[in-house]
């Protein structure tokens, strides 16, 4: 078997784990890939270096391939996601001061988005200054989820609070320094905020939008077209890494690997929390969060076009892109379930037969249904 040299960019976040395991546990090697991982310092660098071909593949925020394909990015090149790196992994973390005020307003501390949002709305209404929240990138799952949670709780993001952008590793420090009141980010940066900055986890992505995608493996569409065998190999590598990662018996080893200096460079005890879903939410309270991070189960690696369309709906909602038939087709086209199915065919493992699925009442915390077959109605009703 010939060996293909392949460089992948990633950010220090737990959901780079499947790429890391692909290299560290030999899954990439098994498929003839000599995988090199480069840790980057910002999502902007991942985006630009992927666009110019320094990174043939990269860990990307799920909305990123859409943004590049829709022409929202500086070097806009059609970009695709043929495999997903996991569901969940995000949380909203607030400062100790804000948490105490939220608790006074009735936040029960059970991580449920609804009750936490209701309490935050009361805090915002009576606050003498605008609260400030951090997210990691403009076209990020974090930005859209935070905004969805706030808006559904009766808080208008750009009017009632301020949203600023900072890279994940800088968020706990910014919170500690008092320059932000809260943030939405992937692990381990919530747990690090709790451990080092006395912060409190207010709610989790798993409650705002259950089992929803966060990071994908992104690549330029033209590169994928020219290298179909490498793309198929990469999809199988991620699938196998996901399968291995989802076995709890491996969690201690995974936490040790991810804690390493080249990856998260954080204590294994903190890194492991998201893997088990057993989070220290602050003040010594430990909570078990079902499906906090899902690297493989529930077809986690399958790129649903309907998920791409939900992110597109949020881009429309916040005025980043105009709603049109053409744009919705570009957005859905950025996720490539066809490549996923074709790559896994030799493994004879089950993959969903449809590209779209509706997100029913239990998916979103506010009970709203997202049915991709009725996208226009959804946009008109929720995203105008």
């Amino acid at each position: 078997m010939t060996t293909h040299h392949l460089t992948a960019g990633f950010l220090p976040l737990l959901d780079s784990v499947l790429l890391v395991l692909a290299r560290e546990k030999g899954f990439a090697e098994d498929e003839g890939l000599d995988l090199h991982l480069v840790r980057e310092s910002s999502w902007a660098n991942i985006r630009d270096r992927a666009a110019i071909g320094h990174f043939p593949i990269a860990q990307m925020l799920a909305p990123m391939p859409l943004a590049a394909s829709l022409g929202l990015t500086p070097i806009a090149v059609p970009t695709i996601a043929p495999v997903v790196l996991g569901l969940g992994n995000n949380a909203v973390t607030v400062s100790q001061t804000l948490w105490e005020t939220m608790a006074d307003q009735g936040a029960p501390g059970d991580l449920q988005a609804k009750a936490a949002g209701a309490a935050l709305r009361k805090v915002v209404a009576s606050s003498s200054r605008k609260l400030r929240f951090g997210v990691v990138h403009q076209t990020s799952s974090h930005n859209y989820e935070l905004r969805y949670w706030l808006a559904a709780s009766g808080i208008q993001p750009d009017r009632d609070i301020e949203i600023v952008v900072l890279p994940p590793p800088l968020l706990p420090d910014a919170l500690g320094a008092g320059s932000i009141d809260g943030y939405c980010v992937g692990e381990p940066w919530n747990s690090i905020g709790v451990a080092e900055r006395g912060a409190h986890i207010a709610t989790v992505k798993a409650s705002i939008w259950r089992t929803s995608p966060d990071k994908v493996l992104g690549m330029r569409a033209d590169w994928a077209e020219q290298n179909p065998e490498i793309v198929a190999a990469v999809i199988r590598v991620i699938y196998r890494a996901g399968l291995w990662c989802s076995d709890p018996a491996h969690h201690d080893e995974i936490a040790e690997i991810m804690a390493g200096e080249a990856y998260l460079n954080a204590p294994a005890g903190i890194v492991g929390r998201a893997l088990s879903g057993r989070l220290d939410v602050g003040g010594g309270v430990v909570a078990d969060v079902p499906d906090f991070f899902v690297p493989h189960r529930n077809d986690a690696n399958f790129p649903w076009k309907s998920h791409a369309l939900w992110y597109y709906s949020q881009m429309v909602r916040w005025g980043e892109v105009a709603a049109s038939q053409e744009n919705s087709e570009i957005a859905a086209g950025a996720f490539r379930p066809d490549l996923y199915r074709a790559a896994l065919a030799p493994l004879v493992v089950p993959a969903p037969e449809t590209d779209y699925r509706a997100e029913y009442t239990r998916a979103f915390f506010d009970g709203q249904v997202f049915d991709p077959q009725h996208l226009d109605e959804y946009l008109a009703e929720h995203c105008a």
């Binding site: 310092s41 910002s42 999502w43 902007a44 660098n45 630009d48 270096r49 110019i52 320094h54 500086p74 070097i75 806009a76 990691v136 990138h137 403009q138 600023v164 952008v165 900072l166 890279p167 590793p169 800088l170």
Partner: protein, 196 residues
């Protein structure tokens, strides 16, 4: 010299590199050059400076923050595009390899901006070369210190002359297929552990 009226903002946490670029731009006839070391100050500065071109190092983790400031800013009214021309792949790659990124107010003609970016790229490269040479000189100096220490240990403990001590280090390194400085390091560490 042809278009000295563009307003240019340099954002670089590395003060020396920032001043090298600033100097280059001034030499090229650009008089409206502002320098910032912290992205957080952009929000204030951008309103006063109203930059046409913004140069930032790629290692700055706050590029996302900066882009978000642009999207909120009233001073930078038109959308900002990165690099000179999206279609100019070669110059984009050169810039990224040098570790520099530039944002340009949409609508500026390519020929007005390209010299600025080229200047930034060449100054970034010159700075990296300088930093590499400095690092090399520093590590050579440290290597020499280590080897001198190791020689001293051998001279003391085995009663060798300086040339003999060096020859022993060199032959050991050759036999073990390692660098002399590595052998010297092992010897110094071992001597430290064994005490005086």
């Amino acid at each position: 010299m042809t278009h000295p009226d563009l307003s240019i903002l340099i954002i670089d946490e590395n003060r020396i590199r920032a001043s090298i670029i600033e100097e280059g731009l001034r030499e090229a006839g650009h008089l409206r050059v502002a320098v910032l070391h912290d992205v957080n100050e952009v929000g204030r500065t951008i309103e006063a400076v109203v930059p046409d071109v913004i140069v930032i190092d790629l290692e700055n983790p706050k590029r996302d923050t900066l882009e978000h400031f642009f999207s909120l800013s009233r001073a930078v009214k038109r959308p900002i595009a990165m690099f000179v021309d999206r279609s100019d792949g070669a110059s984009i790659e050169k810039a990224v390899e040098a570790g520099v990124s530039a944002y340009v107010v949409d609508g500026l003609r390519k020929e007005r901006v390209k010299p600025i970016l080229d200047m930034a790229v060449s100054r970034f490269n010159a700075f990296s070369k300088l930093a590499r040479e400095l690092e090399q000189a520093r590590s050579e100096l440290e290597d020499r210190k280590l080897i001198d220490q190791a020689k001293g240990i051998l001279m003391r403990t085995r009663g060798l002359g300086e040339a003999e001590a060096y020859a022993l280090l060199r032959s050991t390194a050759m036999n073990k297929n390692r660098r002399i400085v590595e052998i010297a390091q092992s010897l110094v560490t071992a001597a430290d552990l064994l005490g005086p």
